[in-house]
């Protein structure tokens, strides 16, 4: 089982991005997804910057994958998409069917990203035929569906599960960060750079509920499936994804790695990681419930 670092979903200053990945080069992650998935206005980093970061990570022995934009609207975004697909160096995570079309056309092996809506084997077989070598399960799907998918997945197809981080829940044409600042999207002043882990949206009774991240809406809670790693191992999950947050990522990666290597019990690990989440932890989707729910796994026994 491998550990991956998903694409950075927030907009950080270029120097912070570089520093983050310089550190990541030393973390026990096997694969690093790079690139802008949320908003094409977030530059720098430009594609050239991502490629340079990718070279450093590759030198450190990481598998590097370039992730594509999830919501494509403008011609300029298609131009960038084509450049990513034809980069000639790193493989690609396709987050839209237009990206799938381009990868297939150029015979480029790809990862079917979490925004492609792969809900059944028929879709997975279709993607395998087009050159997909890995798929990332949509965050809203439960363990039960994963088990059924694993029972009939195409030969050679790797499965990746989003196991840590605030979950991407929706995309819009509208930028909610700009809206929060009473700015139109065309003059957003890149205000999302002020929110390293997104902007929290609370209910009227002061409960944190969602996280605004430009045109993307995320959960306020942070998915934490570290306690499910033995279960994922029994289901032959190939890759476990950690989605970057501003703090503690190296520590979180180390704890996940320790559990995967059998050096740390899941019960002990969950006590560590749940203290490091940007929002409160959740695992509801895994259990087939509302995504925001949290069922503390075997923690009662540990406390008693």
């Amino acid at each position: 089982m491998k550990l991956s670092l998903g694409p950075l979903l927030y907009f950080w200053p270029l120097e912070d991005v570089r520093a983050f990945y310089r550190e990541a080069a030393g973390w026990p992650v096997d694969t690093v997804y790079l690139g802008e998935v949320v908003c094409s206005k977030r530059r720098p980093p430009k594609l050239e910057d991502w490629l340079a970061i990718g070279e450093e990570l590759a030198d450190a022995g990481k598998e590097v994958v370039l992730s594509t934009l999830a919501l494509i609207e403008a011609e300029s975004e298609l131009i960038t998409l084509r450049k990513i697909v034809e980069n000639g160096r790193f493989s690609v995570e396709a987050n839209d069917w237009g990206a799938v079309r381009l990868c297939a056309k150029h015979d480029i092996p790809f990862t079917a990203g979490p925004h492609l809506n792969v809900y059944n084997q028929e879709t997975l077989v279709l993607l395998a035929g087009l050159g997909a070598q890995r798929w990332v399960m949509p965050v809203e799907l439960p363990r039960e569906t994963l088990a059924a998918m694993q029972a009939g997945r195409p030969e050679g197809m790797e499965t990746e599960v989003f196991a840590f981080g605030r979950m991407p829940l929706a995309f819009s044409a509208r930028c909610f960060t700009a809206r929060a600042h009473n700015l139109p999207k065309d003059d957003c002043q890149l205000r999302c750079i002020d929110y390293e882990d997104g902007l929290v949206m609370r209910s009227q009774d002061e409960q944190p509920f969602l996280t605004i991240n430009g045109i993307q809406t995320q959960s306020d809670t942070t998915a934490d499936l570290i306690a499910e790693i033995p279960d994922m191992q029994s289901l032959d999950v190939d890759v476990v994804r950690l989605s970057p947050q501003a703090h503690h990522m190296g520590h979180i990666a180390a704890v996940f790695h320790a559990v995967m290597a059998g050096e740390l019990s899941p019960e002990a690990a969950v006590q560590k990681t749940t203290r490091l989440t940007a929002g409160t932890p959740c695992n509801g989707y895994w259990h087939g419930q509302a995504g925001m729910n949290w069922t503390a796994p075997d923690l009662e026994a540990v406390k008693e």
Binding site: L71, E73, L78, Y119, N120, A148, A180, D186, M201, S203
Partner: protein
């Protein structure tokens, strides 16, 4: 001048279907009575017998029938969706509206002569994505997600020969359709998995000293003062706190209406305009269909001098969420 633009109207029940047909729909769209379509609400939709009756009625008046199977099947229930595809083919619908790529593969392979439309739930926002579905499944039409501006819609039209259908009126999804899990995050059920957004069973109303509170899956999504009218509670149209500021953080209750830009859409070459609302009453369907029929006829007869009539606007606003309308993402300002 362009070909005739088709008016596509919602049929959540037989009376609604009849209302659409009688008031000038060129096509109606319907779903089966289960989770295979994105309006899986109690008491709505058609079983096989009713579907046959509906299709017969529509055909007798020269109206086409489209069938929406636009949710995402999972392995455990795959057979329910393929059975629905087979049943639709057997019923002889004019087209299937599908979202899931795997189901589309099944339909294209099993029923190669069946006309396929890509649902708005398929989230195809660029011509590259649309061309993917055309090349692989020979789709004839795509319903565009409500995220593109007018120049972006034009760009799509110029780069694919797939027919383009756009939403003309009705409740406005703020998020890209087919890629929104807000509902399942709070309730466990989403449009993709269950055909339900903010399912009624997860909604709780309560009168408190602060006002009338509405919760979804236990989350407080809005509080209404006595004089405020409350619509159906969906997460994206609630009032929340951001940086201590209470506001409609995503969107206020409002409906999409393209009446003001109908001539541009017609000139641009869209093939069809769609009215949202299979969950709405037959009276809504009758009224909105009647107004849009008149508007579309006037617009196609003489787009250069088309001006939306004030009685049309008033009639549509009366049917609109929040009694007000917007052009949504079609207008850059909204974004």
């Amino acid at each position: 001048m362009n070909n005739k633009v088709e008016l596509v109207c919602p049929a959540g029940s037989f009376p609604a279907l009849r209302a659409a047909v009688d008031n000038g729909a060129d096509a109606v769209y319907m779903g089966f009575r289960d989770g295979t379509n994105a309006r899986n609400f109690p008491g709505l939709n058609f079983d096989e017998r009713q579907a046959r009756r509906g299709i017969e009625y529509a055909r007798s008046k020269g109206t086409k029938v489209l069938l929406a199977l636009n949710t995402y099947p999972q392995p455990q229930t795959w057979g329910t969706w393929t059975h629905a595809v087979d049943m639709a083919a057997d019923l002889g619908v004019d087209a299937l509206i599908l979202a899931d790529a795997g189901l589309m593969r099944y339909a294209a392979t099993t029923h190669p002569d069946l006309r396929l439309h890509l649902s708005v739930q398929g989230s195809a926002t660029s011509y590259e994505a649309i061309e993917f579905y055309r090349e692989h499944f020979n789709i004839q039409r795509v319903v565009l997600p409500r995220v593109l501006s007018m120049p972006q819609v034009r760009r799509v039209l110029q780069n694919t020969r797939v027919e383009i259908e756009v939403f003309a009126f009705g409740s406005l999804c703020v998020m890209v359709e087919g890629r929104c899990y807000l509902s399942s995050y709070a309730t466990g059920e989403s449009p993709n998995t269950c055909g339900a957004c903010s399912p009624a069973k997860s909604v709780e109303w309560s009168e408190t000293s602060r006002g009338r509170e509405v919760r979804l899956g236990g989350v407080l999504i809005d509080t209404y003062k006595p004089e405020e009218s409350a619509g159906y509670p969906v997460l994206c149209k609630g009032r929340y706190l951001i940086n201590d500021d209470l506001r409609y953080a995503m969107e206020e209750p409002t409906s999409l209406s393209v009446l003001d830009i109908l001539p541009e859409l017609v000139r641009m070459g869209v093939s069809a305009v769609k009215i949202e609302g299979r969950q709405r009453s037959p009276a809504y369907v009758a009224q909105v269909t009647r107004v849009m029929r008149q508007a579309l006829d006037a617009c196609q007869a003489d787009p250069d001098s088309f001006v939306p009539r004030s009685d049309w606007i008033a009639a549509l606003d009366k049917m609109a969420e929040g009694s007000t309308h917007t052009l949504g993402a079609l207008e850059r300002q909204w974004q």
